[in-house]
Every structure is written in structure tokens, then in C-alpha cells.
Symmetry: D2
Subunit: 395 residues, 4 copies
Amino acid sequence: MAESGFTQMAGARAQGAAPEVGVGMLGYAFMGKAHSHALKTLPYMLYPPPAVPKLVAICGRDAAATAEAARRYGYESYTTDWHKLLENDRVQLFDNGGPNGLHAEPCIEAARAGKHLLCEKPLANTGAEAKAMLDAATKAGVKHQAGFNYRFVPAIRQAYELIQSGKLGRIYHFRASYLQEWIMPHYNAPMMWRLQKKTAGSGAVGDLGAHIIDLGRFLVGEYRSVSAMTRTFVTERPLNGQPVKVDVDDAFAAVVEFENGAMGTVEASRFAAGHKNSNCLEVNGEKGSLRFNLERLNELEVFWVGEAPKETQGYHNVLISESYHPFWSNWWPHGHMIGWEHTFTHEFAHLLDCIVNDKPVAPLAATFEDGYRTAVICDAILESAATRRQVDIRY
Amino acid sequence: MAESGFTQMAGARAQGAAPEVGVGMLGYAFMGKAHSHALKTLPYMLYPPPAVPKLVAICGRDAAATAEAARRYGYESYTTDWHKLLENDRVQLFDNGGPNGLHAEPCIEAARAGKHLLCEKPLANTGAEAKAMLDAATKAGVKHQAGFNYRFVPAIRQAYELIQSGKLGRIYHFRASYLQEWIMPHYNAPMMWRLQKKTAGSGAVGDLGAHIIDLGRFLVGEYRSVSAMTRTFVTERPLNGQPVKVDVDDAFAAVVEFENGAMGTVEASRFAAGHKNSNCLEVNGEKGSLRFNLERLNELEVFWVGEAPKETQGYHNVLISESYHPFWSNWWPHGHMIGWEHTFTHEFAHLLDCIVNDKPVAPLAATFEDGYRTAVICDAILESAATRRQVDIRY
Amino acid sequence: MAESGFTQMAGARAQGAAPEVGVGMLGYAFMGKAHSHALKTLPYMLYPPPAVPKLVAICGRDAAATAEAARRYGYESYTTDWHKLLENDRVQLFDNGGPNGLHAEPCIEAARAGKHLLCEKPLANTGAEAKAMLDAATKAGVKHQAGFNYRFVPAIRQAYELIQSGKLGRIYHFRASYLQEWIMPHYNAPMMWRLQKKTAGSGAVGDLGAHIIDLGRFLVGEYRSVSAMTRTFVTERPLNGQPVKVDVDDAFAAVVEFENGAMGTVEASRFAAGHKNSNCLEVNGEKGSLRFNLERLNELEVFWVGEAPKETQGYHNVLISESYHPFWSNWWPHGHMIGWEHTFTHEFAHLLDCIVNDKPVAPLAATFEDGYRTAVICDAILESAATRRQVDIRY
Amino acid sequence: MAESGFTQMAGARAQGAAPEVGVGMLGYAFMGKAHSHALKTLPYMLYPPPAVPKLVAICGRDAAATAEAARRYGYESYTTDWHKLLENDRVQLFDNGGPNGLHAEPCIEAARAGKHLLCEKPLANTGAEAKAMLDAATKAGVKHQAGFNYRFVPAIRQAYELIQSGKLGRIYHFRASYLQEWIMPHYNAPMMWRLQKKTAGSGAVGDLGAHIIDLGRFLVGEYRSVSAMTRTFVTERPLNGQPVKVDVDDAFAAVVEFENGAMGTVEASRFAAGHKNSNCLEVNGEKGSLRFNLERLNELEVFWVGEAPKETQGYHNVLISESYHPFWSNWWPHGHMIGWEHTFTHEFAHLLDCIVNDKPVAPLAATFEDGYRTAVICDAILESAATRRQVDIRY
């Protein structure tokens, strides 16, 4: 492997024992794996860490699978009853990576039990549900963070910094689409919790749309109104051999306006052939433009108006991997790309820092307030599609 | 220069004198130049040509400039009064490349005079105006074609053929954006006819939107409804030193649905920094996807669901330049790219063929019927933005 | 079509009759078509033209096909005997677009007859042959240009200007490859003149290599030495049903050094699956880098060392289509791409200007001196491959 | 975060305790960090792991920094004397991530002590040195692996499988370049061990070239001969305020031939502005082509000759992230990209599997035999550059 730079060993920077924060994890599947990986990696990769997470307990519905997950990731114990996580004094941070329908009640109870909170996105199935979660967290005075991990992609953070610094000037356009393909007919996907309203709240809106709606708020600002349509292309799917109605959207598209006058489009689909995990966004401003695609997450395209020499103006393809790029002082020499999984590493480091040093979670990470606002916008998208009217956003 | 293939000389294919068609051209600026180039090039490049256009006369408001254009392109005569073109018996085809506000009346008069018609897009400033043009052309029984030249990009025609053949299966999504930047603040653009409603009808909607709305109809089918927003970012511009109000849109965005159930987004802007002439579209179907960008007009990206071997499934970047690709048997060996200007060459060859051989202009080219329908959709977009409601398309 | 800029009509710039230059064309196939197109287009597209070419006569071996070509392109006459072109007083410019083996003698005779010369590349089959051509042209005092048309791609000219101005600083690397695929086994190509030494001189070396060797000289400077290998992958091909030995290279690769200390690689192949006409080059300098690919001929990628802000350093993808880019004031608004064929339009305009205004052909175009030097380098590549030694370049 | 697929939890697949393998690590800087990360991650990410590495001890020259690294990564102990690692009975695998000059002696001693071996690349400073290491490892009967981690990029493994299966047919071309920029003048890099022959053996040749030479052997086969040039652009660099001569190459370029008749180019530079870690390779075969770029390590471009329908033939951009792609069943749903660091995770998992299950390290990983052969080729490149002759490869 080629050593191509001047990575200063973080080890030279710091000494001393970091405090420990006990974590109770709900969920052992996709998010359980991603979160556990981040929690285990951050103490030595983001070094010195603000705190060292202790994997106290993990909870899931299937006892054998949960036990196996505990063994795999090194949780000290496991349970099939999430209340047990809250009763455990050693758990300081309740990490909710369960299905959407299991976000509200456990988080509210955890807040009441004084646990700090990380909850996966979408925060809740509806704005009302999210509001209850926010209120509980606020009342309890705990730290609360919503799992909008794409704020922790280095290229997205860099985009945020460029926009915040005023380098793009007035923002004219925001354009975001989150396209996947995994429930298209050729995959023969059965009915699952993500395809039913009672368990998932919505389809592409909450699962994919929430991510890019949050990025719109993060990068551009508050939404003023939305006009949307939704589609359900496959209306029945088999469950145990019986056809069951799909009552959520397979796709949605919305035109949006922001309070600062910018206009945009926000779209998501699970029926976009060839798109595996294509979360693309673009921001056009008075002084420049930015483009990002999650499938090439270490790159950011940037255009500067008026750059000299004019003969070579054009979109820059920036490899976000320099030591001065966000988060990168922790990683490798430039050009040695990092993966999607480390968005969680950065996300947890931020929350642990806020917990042990009593820092504000916002604006760099999404709080439950942000999760609530995104839920309200999701509700407005569904309402607009149903009523065929432009809907104002009211929190 | 490298000879890399087996281009068969078209010259070996054909003999015989092609009929002549006299052309009267209105406009000598951008479109006058593009049309004249195509008319002069097609007889020997698209060989043997269906007909040989004769450049009978050109018309413009500025006598000196029009005279110069006539000299430059080889028109036999020039005039500053477009009625003169219609009185000229040698003019069989009236080619209207004038500003939008000069589309309706001259075309209607030309139809009455029995001239075949090519009119630049947008066909008219409103649906009503376009309808009058369509009615006049229909009544006169002349051939009528609207200048949606992007139907004549080889890659777009290839996309059309793939979709028509059923290779994409059911269509789920259409996604089109036409982004430019040329009236952004740093260009200091003054007031001009394109920025006033009385002369241009609308802003980005008619100028850029019309193109991609037509491509949506060409590739996917009829629109059922639209929900839109518009924006005017710079509201006054100087004219002779005085600020004048801009009363057209600088940008619009719409979500749309098609009669076949597909959903889409259609967006255009003149405020997208870094986008010079970025007309991008994507179609997602049940069996595959297509992507196109006018700035790379000889390329088409294609994804096929279920392609073997599965290990190498992915978007194909297809160089549309093989002799079996649309229009390419007329051009160069593969990989020797052609330019934007030849969309007009193909477009005129089609119309001349329809004229001399009495073939139908539709569906490969847009007729005044298509131009009218696009105008209706443009009207609906403006209405939706004004009323904040989803608007059904009614012709 | 969208009018997106401020293209000033060249027609406003100039008046007056341009002088005429009579052209006698040898060859009616690929190059005959490309040259004729350029000669016919330039008077009104590169306006006002330095001179108006008159298509006096065309020459080819097949009488019927040549007659047809004359009719198609508008040559006043045709012949099957190239001497006739030289005897024609109205021919001032002898345009040699014939096969390689027919470059030397006709050009030498044309020079003796006092004709100005354009000869397609490679100038000759060997350095010695090229030297004789150069000497004849020099002695005759005529203008002489070698058909290295890629010097007339706007993006290449822009690259040249950036390097000449010193903006890249000291040059470290040149990296060029010209890859095609048209004689790979699946095409079942028969024996043809391009695959035999007596008619073509060499294979990929002279056909493709000559182009990029010339671009190396144009952009970086004189070569000092080369080390090369060649390959012939298919050693026999059928001719009239009989297998005939292929005695030229299908591909070559060379490492090269320049007199200014830069090092490079130059490679060409007709066996690179998927590459249609992929002429890619890159220059790395002390202060920046440039990249180009002929399959996207309107783009240039540029990297600037030390550009601010450092957070967005990266390769710029520059759309070479602004009115201030080379040749573009003659064409369309930015983003409306032009084709490969216009390299010839620019090339002829340059030569005509040199002829009627007695300007030097070099350094912007390649002269026979440049053609000769490239031929010497091609010889050195073949010698290096045969002797397995690094070969110094000596003119 | 969006759950987009059907990742089956590896946890469901397996049970049972994996054996432990004690590791002694030499080096705590760049490679020490990368290796430690991999060793810590693999037991739960590549689940169930073939073995669980135990971090027994780490060794470095600076006691304080080594102690800190031990604390950071969780090594049980540390030392400044590498002999101590060999004396430790709990160390079964000696992991040499030290500078090049510290590869041979410690590895030879470790082999004698019966330790299994992983040694970073280049294996040694010369072929002779590498041969001694190979002989020692062979004699000791231990497992030996050279750190050519790019064999463990999923896309590279996929390329290997496609070529091995015969899907590309006969191979015509291999084209590899490894370009970086980190010692260009604007970085003001001082003299360091990598820039001196006594410590690094060579410059770009051994550091970068070794990687791509190995990939050529892995993908295409044995080299037959090389013709090369080298360059040192900056000949002195400061060390403690004094100028010191740079006696290694800053860049090299070579044309190569393989025993199977393929021809190629291999090039590396530390002076290629804009290239951060650009390890690009291409293979052209009779039936298809492959392209790879380490800066987009989760992508593979593939072209298939004769693919149907012919209208959409073109390079596929394949996102290597499906569960059926190499290594990916361990990771995330498709489109959720992994980073460069996991090449080491895969590499260690392979070696541990070979150790505990007595499997052969070759051909999927490079052995010391492979490391030796690459060293011989590096020697040949330097010899060819010095003698200006093509040099045959003899092991």
C-alpha cells in the first residue's frame, strides 16, 4: 500500500482516558450492524474519542438471533424486551435502530428514564408522533439526535460549510432525488413491514424522502410549501401466499419552496431501475453550484461563478479526502476513500461529544426537533398528493 | 485523420435528381443561422436527399443585416416585410425562425397562402394562439412541423425506438430538466424580448420547458396533470438605462403525471450556475432505464434489468455513432462525433421528405398539433403555479 | 431550440468579397467527404472567410464513383488521373486525401506545379519519403500543411494556449493513447490497404500514432528518444478468399522522453474493445494538468495546483464552448456542441488564410516539416520495437 | 438510513468459537493503523471469521508513540525491539508494516522463529533480498503473504474472476498507471526515507509500480520483458536544513509484454498534479474490456463484444456492491459503498483462513513468491532505464 502523504498520527495529539458511555441498542439487523460497527470503530479511529461507548445490551424480537448478535458485536447482554434496556442503569444512551413503528414508544419511555437518545430516521410515522417524542426528550432534558447520518458524509458537511460561509451567495435551487430499485417486479419482493402504513407510516416518502428533506433543511433552510404526487406501482404483494394490499407509496415527487425564496424538487422512488442507492442532490446559488451523489460519496462537484481564468471554468470534481476536509484528519492519506459505514462513526462521535461535554446536538446533527420538522413535511407531501393542492408547512 | 471503419459511401447508393423545394426564411439571427446551415448541408450529407432546398428569400427587420445574411448564406433575395415571402411563388416552405411573438400571424398567413410550414418552438405564446395556427394549417392542408429539433438528436431517436419497441416495458418515471445560466446576475443581462410576457409569452417555461415537455410526450405519452411552481429571481432589468419589470418566469418546476400512469418531474431554469445547455432526461421503466444529456449529445446511458451476466449489470454508456444508429449511416465512422447543429439537418430532411413524398410529419417530428398540446401544458404549468393547484390537461 | 446567449453575428463584423482559391481534391471516400464538407461549410460559418474555396475538380480511381462524388459535393469536374489536377490552372490548392501510398508522388508533383498543399496524415510511409515531400514543397515556395486536424479541435487549441502561456509551468508528463477496435476478430475485417506495409507504411503507428505523436510535439515539444514494442494479433486476413499476411502492427506502445525533460507514454491499438475513436491525452505540469478525450471533443479537464479555495480543488470539467474559447465565436451559444467534422473546417480556414495573406502555416497547424518529423518518430518506434533498444530521434 | 435490500444477517449462518491467532505488528504509522483497523474489524464484519486475531504486541522505534499506539488499538504490549515479537510464543503471525528497509531481516528471522508472515509491499528493496525472504519462508514451512492489498478490492477480484473464467477471451492489452502528486514542488516535501535508495530501494517503482505490476501478474499473467524510462524531477531535498540528493525515481514508465502475447504499459508518478491516489488499470481482451480506478474503488467498467441488443452496446458502469459480488455478502445492501480500508480486512481474513485451515495463500493473495517476482520486475525496469534496452524477465 502506498504511503502518499503526511497523515499526522492522531495518537501524537492526545493522552488520557476518555469517559465511557453505556449504550443500549434496539435492533440487530441492518441498522444494528451499522451502529455496532460504528460504536466499535470510533474509539480508535476518531482518536482520541470524546467518549468510549460501552456495548451494554442489545435488544431484538428473536431471542436466538439477538443472542448471536450480542456475541458477534460484543454486547455484554441481550434481551427481547426493550423495557429492560431502560431499566439498566449502565445504559446512558438508548440507540433505537428498530423498525419505524417501534420508534415512538421506546424513545418516549427512554427519555422518561433519563436516557440520552439516538433514533433512526424517519423519527416517527407522523408529525404528531414525532412531536410527542420531541416533547418527551425536551422535558427530560436529555440529548436527542435523529439518525440523519448523511449530514455526516464528509462531502455533505463540506457542502454545508461552503453554503454557510456565504460562498454560494443567494440560493436559487435545490434538487434532490433518492432513487432505489429493490422492490421492482423482477425482485419479487414479498409484503414486508416497510410496505404497510401501520408499520412504516409511508413508503418512499418516509424511508428515502426523509433523508433528502432533511438535507434540504440542513443545506438550504426551512421549507415554506410543497406540491406533490405519489404513486404505488405494485398494489398487492404476497404474504404467506396471500395477496395483501400495499397501502404506502412506491414513489413520490414534489416541487418545494423555501422560506429564503429558493425553489426545488424532491423525489424518491423504489422503482428506478439501475439505481442502487442513488441519493443525488444539487444546489444552485448566485455564486456557485454544488452536486453530490451518495454512490460516489467521497466526491463533491463544485462550480464557481467568475472563477479565473475564465477559459477553464467548469464543474470541479473534488475528491473530499484531504486532511483539511471535514472528518478526514482521522482517516487516510488523500485519495484513499472511506465507506458509507463511517457516516455512523462520525454521527456517534458527535453525539458522544455532546453528551459528555454538554454541547448542543444542533445544528451539525439533526435533533428530534429536526426529525419532527421532517415528519411534518412528509405529512404535507402526502396531504398535497391526496388533495392536489400546494400545502404550506406549519410546525 | 484515422479511417476506422466501413462507411459505405452514400454516393454509391443513389442517383437521379432530387426535386427542389423553395424556402422562405423568417429570421436571420441564431435560428436563421442554424436553419440556413442545415438547409445548405443536407443535400450532400444526407445523400441522396429527399429534396434539395432552394434558399429563395430571407426576411428580417434590419435591412442591412438581412442583406448581409442573404449574402452570407446564399439566399437569392431578402426583404424586411414577411408578407413578401408569402407572395413569392417560388417559396413552397415558410420557415419561421423569428421571435415567439412573430410566430402566429405569419404562420397563419403562410398557411392561407398555401405554404408548407416549419415554425420554431414554442409554437406560440399561449395554447389559444397555437390552436389558431394549428387550425389554419389543417384547413390549408399544408405540411406543418414545429421546431422541436431534439427529437432529431440520434440518441433521442434511439431512446424513442427502444421505448416504442417495448424494451423498457411499463414506464414508471420521466425526469427532465433543462438548465441554463445565461441571465444570472453576473452576466448583467439587460431587458430583452425573451424576458417580457407580451413578446415571449413566458420565460423558462416556453423557451426551455417546451422542449422537455415535448420530449416527455414523444417518449412517454400524453400528460394527465401538472403541479408547478415558478420563480422570478431578478425582477427588474435595465432597458435604455431604465429599470423595466420582468414579468416572466426565470425558472419553473413541475411534478407531472402521464395518462399511462407514469409520474415525473419537469424543470427548467436560467439560473443554474455552471449549466450551459444542460437538457437532461431520464426514463425509468419496468425492464430498463435511459438517460440523456444534451451537453453530451452523442451518448445515451442505458440500464437493462436482468441482463446477463448479472455480475456486470450497470448503466451502459452508449456512444450513439454506429452506422445502425438513427441517422448515422449518413455521417462518419463510429466515434467521430457530430454536433448539435445537425439536429436541424435531420429535422429539415424529414420535413422535405414529407412534403415531396406526401408523408405524415407525425409521429417522428412534432406537428402543429404537438406544438399546440405543448402550449396547453405550458399554460397549465403557469396556471398551477398561480392557483397552487394541480391542473388537469385538457386539449 | 433555446437561444441562450449573446452570439454576435459575424455578419456584423465584415463586408467585402473574399478572394477565391481553387481546390483540386484527390480522394472521394472518407477524407474526400470530410474535406468537401469543410470546404463547403467554412465560407458561411467562419464568416467572413479568409477566402472562398472553389471546388474545381475531384480525382479518384473509380470513374463512376468519382463522378457521383463530384455531383454530390459540387465539384466542377472530375478525373481519374491526378496529374490532371496539377495541369489545371484554376487549381491553386492541391488537397491530398488519398491513401498513404499516394501521398508522396502527387504532392511532390503538385509542389513542382506550384500548387499549395494540404496532405492527409501520415504525411508519408517513411521519414525519407516525407523528407522528399518537404524538400519539394520548400523548394517550390508553396504553402504546405499536413492534415493533423486534431490541432484544430477547440479544446486542443485551448490546451495549447494554456501550456504556451506558461500556466502549467514545467511539463513533467505526457500520456496519450489512441484506441480503436474496428479490426478485432468479431468484425471479420478482410485484408485491405491499411493492413499492408507497401500501401500503408505501418499499421496503428502511422494511422493513429501519428496523430498523438504530433499532438505531443504541438503541446509539449520535441521528442528526444523512444522505447517501443509493437504487436500484430491477427497475422493473416482473407483477400479474395485467400489468406494474406498482415505485415503491419495492430498496436504499439512506447515510452518517450522530450527534450525539455518530460517523460511520456504514447500508445495506439486497433484491438481495444469498446473504444470507438478514443484519442485520450493528458499533460501533467508543475502548476496544473490537462486531460482530453476525442469522444467528448468539446470538453477539457483541467486541474490547477494551489487554486483557492483549497477545499474545492479538483479537476474542472470545462465545456469548451464559450465565445472566448478558440474558434467558438463562429459557432453557437455555449453548450451547443459542435462535431468532429468541424476540425477540418477550422483547418482549411487556417490554410486559406495563410495562402491568401501569406502567413506562416506553423506553429498553429502542422507543416510538411512537422509531418516529416512525425514520420521520423514513427520510424524510430518501429526501429525500437525491432531492435529492443531505446532510439534517439534525429531529424 | 434506508434499508434497501435483503442482506441476510451473517449471524444466522454460523455459530461456534473461531480459533485465535496471535499477531505481532511491526510499525505503528500509516500501515500500523490500517492493519490494526482491519484486524479489529474483521471478527464481526466478516462473520463468522475464520479466526479471531489477538493483538499481542506492537513494535516501533519511538517508545512513547508505540506505547500510545498500543493503547489506541488495544495491543496487549509494545516494544521497540522487533526481536521481542519473535521471542513471544503467543505471536503466531508476524505482521511487517515497517519501512521497506526493515522488511527483509525481521521477516527472515520471523520465518526462522516459525511465525507466519504478512509483509507489506514492496516485499524487498531488490529481487535478491526478496529471494532470501522467500527462501527463508519456504524453508520454515510457514504461511507467507505479501501485502498487495489491491487484490482484495472487490472490483479487482471480480475482474480476476471474469478473466479467469475466459469471459474476456484472449488478452491483448494491459494498461496501468498509478499516479500521485504528494511530492510535487508546491508541497515542499523534505527528504524522507521514501526518497532514498538505501532505505526505499527505489521511488515510484517500488512504492506504486509494485502494486500495478502485481495486478498485471494477477490479472494477465507472467511478464516476458520490459522497456522503461525513469525520471527524477526534483533532485535535492532538504534534511535538517541541508540539501540532500534524491537518488530514487520520481516517476517511471514502461512498455511490457506478457508471456501470453499481451502488450501493456505500466507507469507511476508522484508528480501527476490532481491525482491523489489514482491507480487506474484497463484490460482489453478478445471478447471484452475492463477498467478500474482506485479513487472509485466500488466501480468496475466492463465492455462486452457482441452484446445484444447491439444498439446499446457500451461500457457498463458496474457498482460492485451486490451480495453476489466478491466479499459483499459481508457488507451492506447494494449501493452502500465501502472504503479502501477494507481491502486489508479481506486480506487478513484470507491469510487467517490459510493459517488455521492450512490452505494455500496463492493464487488469490500474493505470496512471497509473488513478492519476489514483482521485485525482479522492478529491478528489470530500473535496469532497462539505465541501459536503454529491453530487459527480459528471469526469475
